[in-house]
């Protein structure tokens, strides 16, 4: 009797610690988001006021949202961003799964050298690609298109590395069993191994989507037409050279965030189901 009691007590303490840290972490994480909401309702003067810093706007209003919608074609920006994110995710997941599987499970000559290329790419700063990649797109005559937005994300070195690590943690016996059942390498990969990486693919999807969504320099350099901009590049044009209307910028940013949050809500369910869910399908 006594031992179940103490077990229950230690269980309660565990619960308490978990919630404590979760709530504390959530508060810290949510801070800038809360700040965005507050700022989106302030006047410009309130947004930059110091001593005292204005925390709550004097009046709650939606004017800044109205101004943001008026100054940017949000429909187009959502659409362009959706297409860019979609194609970058498809490419990253497809090509990285293939390469990640090959690097983890197959034997072929030059494997180490080719994997070295993947690591070298990861260590390169993205700023050095901008001008050469812009020239490639310009030579193809593809500036100001969705293709141009997708272009640098056609392959993902990090995706390859991340999925390689995932495939390496799947026991070799799984693949061998499929092979003995008469699957060829592609079938083994596509029908047996790939479905086992569901959560990692979901994580890579989120990672790629967030990265593409936040990418600013490239979309801005390659597409100058406002109709072909993404959310982040479109929003950045609201920044003035000398003064920025922060409330309108924050209102616009909140509008821009919505689809990403919804996307995340959908994909995090993948994590709840976990391996049981993906393995069964």
């Amino acid at each position: 009797m006594k031992s179940t009691d103490s077990l229950r007590r230690s269980y309660a303490i565990n619960k308490f610690i978990v919630y404590f840290f979760l709530i504390l972490g959530a508060l810290i994480m949510v801070f800038p988001f809360a700040w965005m909401i507050l700022t989106s309702s302030k006047t410009v003067a309130e947004s930059v006021q110091v001593d005292p810093i204005v925390i709550l706007p004097a009046k709650w209003m939606l004017d800044n949202f109205r101004d943001a919608i008026k100054s940017l074609p949000f429909g187009r920006l959502y659409w362009n961003t959706t297409l860019m994110v979609f194609f970058r995710v498809i490419c990253a997941v497809l090509f990285s799964s293939m390469a990640g599987y090959a690097f983890a499970k197959l034997k072929f000559r030059g494997k180490n050298l080719l994997f070295g290329i993947v690591l070298v790419q990861m260590s390169l700063p993205s700023q050095i690609f901008i001008i050469p990649q812009y020239q490639m797109v310009a030579h193809m005559g593809m500036a100001n298109t969705i293709f141009a937005l997708v272009f640098p994300g056609l392959v993902s070195a990090f995706g390859v590395f991340f999925l390689r690590q995932t495939y390496m943690s799947i026991p070799d016996e799984v693949g061998e069993a499929a092979y003995l059942d008469g699957c060829n390498q592609w079938q083994t990969f596509y029908k047996v191994m790939f479905p086992l990486t569901g959560t990692s693919v979901a994580a890579l999807t989120i990672f790629t989507a967030v990265f593409a969504y936040g990418d600013l320099m490239w979309p801005l350099v390659v597409n100058s037409d406002l109709k072909m901009m993404t959310l982040s590049s479109g929003l950045s044009t609201l920044k003035g050279q000398f003064t920025t209307n922060f409330p309108v910028l924050m209102a616009g940013s909140l509008l821009a965030m919505l689809p990403m949050v919804v996307l995340y809500l959908i994909f995090q369910r993948q994590f709840v189901e976990g391996i049981a869910g993906t393995g069964g399908k």
């Binding site: 197959l106 790419q121 050095i128 690609f129 590395f161 936040g214 929003l235």
Partner: protein, 297 residues
């Protein structure tokens, strides 16, 4: 004899499949990234005359770079920044991932909250953190009752930037690690708890080894990202910040040389040096992983 021929045919098929499956990635990387890098290596030996025209110089950029105290300072700042952010960042991310993987109420809600920093507008992030750290009117000083010039004092500036860095990367890394945790078969824990193992022992005997391959990829990625830090510094410090020389990183120096001053040759030399450093650290990591990353279960 017959058996051996058959086996090598299978091996050849496997090899073809291997090449086929890595081909799209490798071709893409070569065109999109490696070729520009080769150009960068070449331009590091050149003087930039303007608008992509170069004149070969030899080693002059490297001589200038290695003789520059500012460059060595930036190298140290970059390494120091990595020491400050990478271990703490990855450990915190693992903690967050474990908490988000626990059986709690509102799990989806918590996960979404931890995800928010990733999609917050950079301008909002900068505004909030600069307000928190503001030496005169900042929240942090008001809470601590202190008068610390967080972002303008050379002693604390890097720490302030490191805190923002960890804050903004924890969400990313936790998402990836969460996937690694989810890949652990529940049966392992069930078998283990019958043995009566404690939670902490479970963590070290099951969780950590099982998540170690994912953690390794997160560690490598975070290390590389920290070695390339630039925008956070740009975001937190104005050009007239008295502590700028104590926080500017290699990539910050590169940005100023290549993009502001137009000296792309010198900027390229800084890139080559940085990439070299990153690869060195990565090689050490790959060598060191044998000691702690478990691939066979």
């Amino acid at each position: 004899m017959k058996n051996k021929v058959k086996l090598s045919a299978a091996a050849r098929r496997e090899e073809n499949w291997g090449w086929f499956m890595v081909a799209p990635t490798i071709i893409g990387l070569l065109v999109l990234n490696i070729w520009p890098f080769i150009q960068t290596i070449y331009t590091s030996f050149c003087e930039h005359l303007g608008f992509g025209h170069y004149r070969f110089l030899g080693l002059a950029n490297y001589v200038k770079m290695f003789g520059n105290a500012e460059f060595w300072k930036a190298t140290w700042n970059t390494i120091f920044f990595c020491i400050l952010t990478v271990p703490v960042g990855v450990a915190l991310a693992l903690l967050v991932a474990i908490l988000l993987n626990a059986k709690v109420k509102f799990k989806g809600g918590f996960r979404t909250l931890f995800f928010l920093p990733l999609v917050c507008a950079p301008a909002a992030v900068a505004m909030v953190w600069r307000w928190i750290f503001n030496g005169e009117y900042g929240v942090l000083n008001q809470i601590l009752g202190a008068n610390i010039q967080w972002i303008t004092d050379p002693k604390t500036a890097v720490i302030a930037v490191a805190i923002v860095s960890v804050w903004s990367s924890v969400g990313y890394d936790a998402v990836l690690l969460l996937a690694g945790l989810q890949n652990i078969p529940k049966t392992l824990y069930e078998a283990n708890s019958i043995d009566g193992a404690g939670k902490i022992r479970q963590f070290f005997t099951i969780t950590l080894p099982m998540v170690s391959p994912t953690m390794f990829s997160v560690l490598i990625m975070r290390l590389m990202a920290s070695m390339k830090v630039y925008d956070l510094i740009y975001m937190m410090a104005d050009e007239t910040n008295p502590a700028l020389t104590d926080m500017q990183s290699l990539m910050y120096l590169f940005y100023r040389s290549s993009f502001v001053a137009g000296e792309r040759g010198y900027g390229s030399a800084i890139v080559v040096w940085t990439v070299g450093l990153i690869l060195l650290v990565t090689l050490i990591q790959f060598w060191g992983q044998k000691k702690w990353v478990t691939y066979d279960i």
